[in-house]
Symmetry: C2
Subunit: 214 residues, 2 copies
DNA sequence: TCCTAAAAGTATCATATGTGTCTTTTATTT
DNA sequence: AAATAAAAGACACATATGATACTTTTAGGA
C-alpha cells in the first residue's frame, strides 16, 4: 500500500514512516469496489479524501425530478473529496458511481491535516482543489451559455483532434453522450439529425464524420 | 497595511516580520478601485491573490452572444484568485467588476507560496478554495436542474427569512435579479406575472408579498 | 443459437426561455 | 423644474429542450 501511494505525485515526498504511522493508526485504508456500486449518494457526508489507484468512477448531478447530468470521470491518480473536507459544508453535491472495478485509498480528514504539514503535499493538494474548481467553471459555462449544438460540435472537434481524423469513433454510447451533454436522449438525436440535415456531420452507427470545421 | 491584514483570520497567525518582508519585496500591494471599474476581464491571466479590505466586487459570467449571468458578490474578507493561481489554467472564468469603491490587497503567487509554509494559513487557504468550489456546485445545481420559478421562490423565501416578514423589499433591482437568476429581464417579468396569477405572490414596485410557502 | 435487456432511433406535443420592440414609470442630472 | 437616462413592465414570436411513447436494432448471457 505504501508503495502504491508513493507512486502518486501527491505522496511522492511524504516519508514512508509517516505513511506507516497513519496506516497503523487506521487513518489510511484501502478498499475495492465492484463496477456499478454506488460510492456516494448526492447529499452524503464526505468524511474521507479518496485516491484512485485503479479503475474509474463517474459522478452524476441529480435533480429532484429525476433528470441527471454526468459531471466528471475519475481514474488512476485522481482524487475525490479534496474540496469537500475543508469547506463550509461537507456533503457530496453529486452522486458517485464505480464505473470500472476500482481500488481506492481512503484518508481521514485528520490524515490529510497531518499531511498538510508537508509543503510539497500542500502545494499538490491546493493544485488539485484548484483544478477541480476550474472543471466546475467549465461545466457552468457549457450549461449556461451554450446550446446543445455548440457543445456537441465542440465535443466532435475535440474527438477529431484526439483521434487525428475527421472520421472517428465515439468513445461512449449515445446515451452516455446525452448524459454528458446534460440533455435527454431524444434531444441529442434530434440535434444529430439537424446537424446531418445541415451537412455538418454524417453519422454511421458509432462513427461520426465531421465535414465542416467552423 | 500590516494591521489591515492581521485583522483578517487568514493572516492572523502570520508574523508581522514576514509580512513586512513581503511588502518590502513588492510581493504585497494595496490598491484602490473606483465603483464601476473592471477588475478583470473574462479570460485575463490571474497573477495575484486578492483580498478585499473594503468595498464590494461582483463577478459576471459572459457568453459569446452577449448574455450574462451574475455569479458571485465579494466583500470585506473575501478573496479572489485562490483557485486560479494553482490550477492547470490561470485565466479568469468570469469578469470581475467593482461594485462599491474598494480597497484591495494583491499578493503575488510567490507571496502565497511563501505563506503556505505557515500551517494555519494553509488550512485557511484550503478552506477558502473549498468553499469556492461549493458555491460553484450550488450555481451548477441552480442552473442545471431548476426552473426560473423554483429559483425565484427560493430567493423570495430566503429574503422573507432574512427580513423576518413575508412582505419584504427586494434588496436589488429587478434588472439585477434577472442577472442573478441568469435569465433575460422579460423572462423574469413573465414569471413574476405568472406567480401573481397563481396567487403565490403580490408585487408592489420593489416590494414582494409572499403569500404561500410551499 | 435463442432470448432478453439495453441502446438506438423517431415522432409528437408541451413548455421554458430568448429575442425584439414598445410604452410607461422612476430616478438622476442640469 | 425640465431634461434625460435608466428601470420597469408588457407583448408577440421564435426556438431549444423536456416528456412521453413507440419501434427497431444491437449486444450479452443462458
Amino acid at each position: 500500500m505504501i508503495e502504491g501511494l508513493k507512486e502518486m505525485p501527491l505522496f511522492a515526498t511524504v516519508s514512508s514512516d509517516k505513511l506507516e504511522n497513519l496506516i497503523c493508526d487506521n487513518q489510511i485504508d484501502k478498499k475495492y469496489y465492484m463496477s456499478g456500486v454506488t460510492f456516494y449518494d448526492q447529499g452524503d457526508e464526505c468524511e474521507t479524501f479518496d485516491l484512485i489507484l485503479s479503475g474509474s468512477l463517474v459522478t452524476y448531478s441529480l435533480a429532484e425530478n429525476g433528470s441527471q447530468m454526468m459531471m466528471f470521470e475519475f481514474s488512476r491518480g485522481h482524487t475525490l473529496g479534496a474540496n469537500l473536507l475543508f469547506g463550509d459544508t461537507h456533503t457530496y453535491p453529486f452522486s458517485v458511481y464505480c464505473q470500472e472495478r476500482a481500488e481506492i485509498i481512503h484518508l481521514t480528514k485528520d490524515a490529510v491535516m497531518t499531511l498538510l504539514y508537508n509543503y510539497d503535499f500542500t502545494l499538490n493538494f491546493v493544485g488539485i482543489v484548484s483544478s477541480n474548481s476550474q472543471k466546475l467553471n467549465q461545466k457552468i459555462y457549457m450549461t449556461m451559455h451554450r446550446t446543445l449544438r455548440e457543445n456537441l460540435l465542440d465535443f466532435f472537434q475535440q474527438q477529431a483532434h484526439l483521434q487525428k481524423t475527421n472520421y472517428f469513433r465515439l468513445p461512449i454510447s449515445k446515451k452516455q453522450l446525452a448524459d454528458q451533454m446534460g440533455v435527454q436522449r431524444p434531444s441529442l438525436f434530434r440535434e444529430l439529425k439537424r446537424l446531418k440535415e445541415d451537412g455538418v456531420i454524417e453519422v454511421e452507427n458509432r462513427y461520426i464524420h465531421l465535414k465542416k470545421t467552423l
